[in-house]
């Protein structure tokens, strides 16, 4: 595959605009709060699109399309079951505490609610995770461009990273968020022709249903037994592991996404951010997963497209780009490549801006230097943006040793994110939960997750300390790791909290359910109130699931 001049023109136009947006926002940044938290000033339509765009990194887009070809419609559970309920929950029930507490980051909420050690544990593990996922994303993109377009791995990775670095250093979080909105539009418009063309070629949805066995085109019907469905997972592990633990652990506690809502201009906007984001999120599988399913059908019907294979197995990460090669002529191909670049940048900028905030406020200001003038923290924020980018480039090399990116990310989330939701759930809704309980729960939950990974095997991965159980897929293994670490964290936190002495109710005002006045929303029209909006989103999501049962 080679790019024509027009393709490079499209890419150049995009680079000019993202850098231009950063440049235009430069003079808005005068304090560390402007740089790291957007000074809580952004309108809700912008924060909500950024909320999903920051999650829509290159590894997500490429991985979802590949997984569509691997697991079929069930992959959409990563959206309908694995995102929507948690997004509605965080908007309705958790945002009043995040936004209302005036914490500047998720770890800082933990400090206000519990104590310094719980915050530091979360801040450090989060910082490591953001660098890691940013590096994975970078690796996927660099490798893809190297294999398909013949670009130099290091050169393309460094170019993309440099552009993200420039616009995030210039305009801080606002610049990252504004660009994420532009990137979101580009991802949708750049990838939807692929879904339309591939599905048309496969004879529409009915053509796909006729070509593929029913287990590929149904979301729930074959989940009763792990052996019956492509994912190799049973209903319990999918619903509890993915739909509850992993999903809520990610969407409700991951500062990467929560930061977007916290940058909103009011409590009402902050609450509506994830709820409004749920609407486009419900339909994202049409753009990122459906082309993968169509690819599988096209390959089966002998249409001239064959699935990319590596060592006799599906090379999932190559599905999207090989489809593009068959369906996109020069011109639109440039838009497709640019959209991939945009997804990479939105994911990376999300990670970098979350990393610099956590580093500056939770680690540097919390432990290394307290009470310095604000200009000092602004400088630290800018430096940590640079350091974060450089560390991500380094992580891109570490990522080379792993194959399936989605599975790997789930694995990391399983260990880092899963116990966290137990901590936040108890912290926000149970006044008795104590700092010691939360901290011990987090540490033991994380350790239990790692231990499960070390004692079970799936697809020849894990099992470093022995093998107590073999899972059908790494995905099933990840779901169970998440369930175990959540369960341990929950139980340990409750036990130690019951034995300890709770904080007095006066100190918990604004932080815990029962000690906080919930925001009133009675007078506004329905589309400006969180609850009716969430009910509409839930109804749409349920209807789609019934249709694809």
């Amino acid at each position: 595959m080679t790019l024509a001049t027009v393709d490079y023109l499209v890419l150049a136009l995009y680079f000019a605009f993202v850098l231009g947006i950063g440049w235009l926002l430069k003079k808005k940044v005068t304090t560390s709060s402007d740089f790291l938290t957007s000074g809580r000033s952004l309108p809700v339509w912008i924060t909500s699109l950024a909320f999903i765009a920051t999650n829509l990194g290159a590894q997500e887009v490429i991985g979802m399309c590949g997984s569509g070809a691997k697991y079929g419609v069930m992959q959409a559970h990563f959206y309908w079951l694995g995102a929507i309920p948690a997004m509605l929950f965080v908007g309705l029930f958790m945002m009043p505490f995040y936004y209302g507490s005036r914490a500047r980051s998720v770890p800082e909420y933990l400090k206000l609610r519990f104590d310094e050690k719980t915050r530091t544990f979360n801040a450090v593990s989060f910082a490591v995770m953001t660098i890691f996922s940013s590096g994975v994303s970078m690796y996927v993109l660099g490798k893809l461009f190297q294999m398909v377009l013949g670009w130099n791995f290091l050169a393309s990775v460094l170019l993309a990273a440099a552009i993200v670095l420039i616009y995030t250093s210039l305009g801080g979080l606002t610049s990252a968020i504004y660009n994420e909105v532009l990137q979101f539009f580009l991802i949708v418009l750049g990838f939807s022709p692929l879904a339309i063309l591939a599905v048309m070629k496969a004879g529409g949805w009915s053509g796909i249903q006729q070509t593929l066995a029913p287990k590929w085109t149904h979301a729930w019907q074959y989940m009763g037994n792990a052996a019956d469905n492509p994912m190799g997972s049973d209903m319990f592990s999918v619903v509890v592991g993915l739909g509850f633990v992993l999903s809520f652990g990610y969407w409700c506690t991951n500062f990467l996404v929560v930061q977007r809502a916290m940058a909103a201009d009011s409590m009402s906007s902050a609450r509506r951010t994830p709820i409004i984001a749920a609407f486009p999120k419900i339909f994202m599988p049409l753009i990122v997963i459906l082309p993968g399913i169509a690819a599988l059908a096209l390959a089966k019907m002998g249409s001239g497209y064959s699935l990319p294979m590596l060592d006799g197995k599906l090379d999932a990460d190559m599905v999207m780009i090989t489809l593009m090669g068959k369906f996109y002529p020069a011109g639109l191909l440039g838009v497709g490549i640019t959209a991939l670049m945009a997804s990479f940048m939105s994911g990376m900028a999300g990670n970098v801006t979350a990393f610099n905030t956590v580093w500056t406020y939770d680690i540097y200001q919390g432990h290394i230097r307290k009470g310095a003038p604000d200009s000092h923290y602004l400088m630290v924020g800018r430096i940590s943006t640079l350091v974060g980018t450089l560390l991500s480039v380094a992580a891109a090399y570490v990522a080379q040793f792993y194959k399936n990116i989605m599975d790997l990310l789930q694995l990391v989330f399983g260990v880092v994110n899963a116990p966290l939701f137990a901590t936040f759930l108890l912290g926000m809704f149970w006044m008795r939960a104590t700092g010691l309980g939360a901290f011990s729960g987090l540490v033991s939950g994380t350790a239990a997750g790692l231990l499960t990974l070390a004692l079970t095997v799936a697809e020849n991965k894990g099992g470093w300390l022995g093998n107590l159980h073999t899972f059908r897929s790494t995905m099933a293994q990840n779901f169970w790791i998440a369930i175990v670490s959540f369960g341990i964290c929950f139980v340990v936190t409750v036990l130690l909290s019951v034995l300890g002495k709770p904080k007095p109710a006066a100190e918990l005002k604004g932080l815990v359910w029962g000690a906080t006045d919930m925001p009133k929303t009675g007078e506004e029209p329905w589309h400006k109130r969180p609850v009716p909006l969430a009910l509409v989103a839930a109804a749409i999501c349920i209807a789609i699931n019934i249709w694809l049962w």
Binding site: F17, S41, V181, G331
Partner: protein, 63 residues
């Protein structure tokens, strides 16, 4: 704060113009599995329309 719809609208209008022009000037540039459709022209039109809608929204707010 300036309106994000302005630069986003300009970007997609520009993108639409490039794709439409390319699709009209080189109608023979087709992809292997979409040889019967002028993909560039149609996607160019949709992106251009989206860009113009964003510009109109930004302009309406300013007026």
């Amino acid at each position: 704060m300036w309106d994000l719809r302005l630069p986003a609208g300009l970007f997609f209008t520009g993108l639409g113009i490039i794709l439409c022009a390319y699709g009209l000037l080189f109608p023979g540039v087709r992809a292997q599995m979409a040889a019967d459709i002028n993909v560039n022209l149609y996607s160019g039109i949709s992106m251009g329309v989206f860009g113009i809608v964003l510009l109109l929204l930004a302009w309406r707010k300013r007026a």
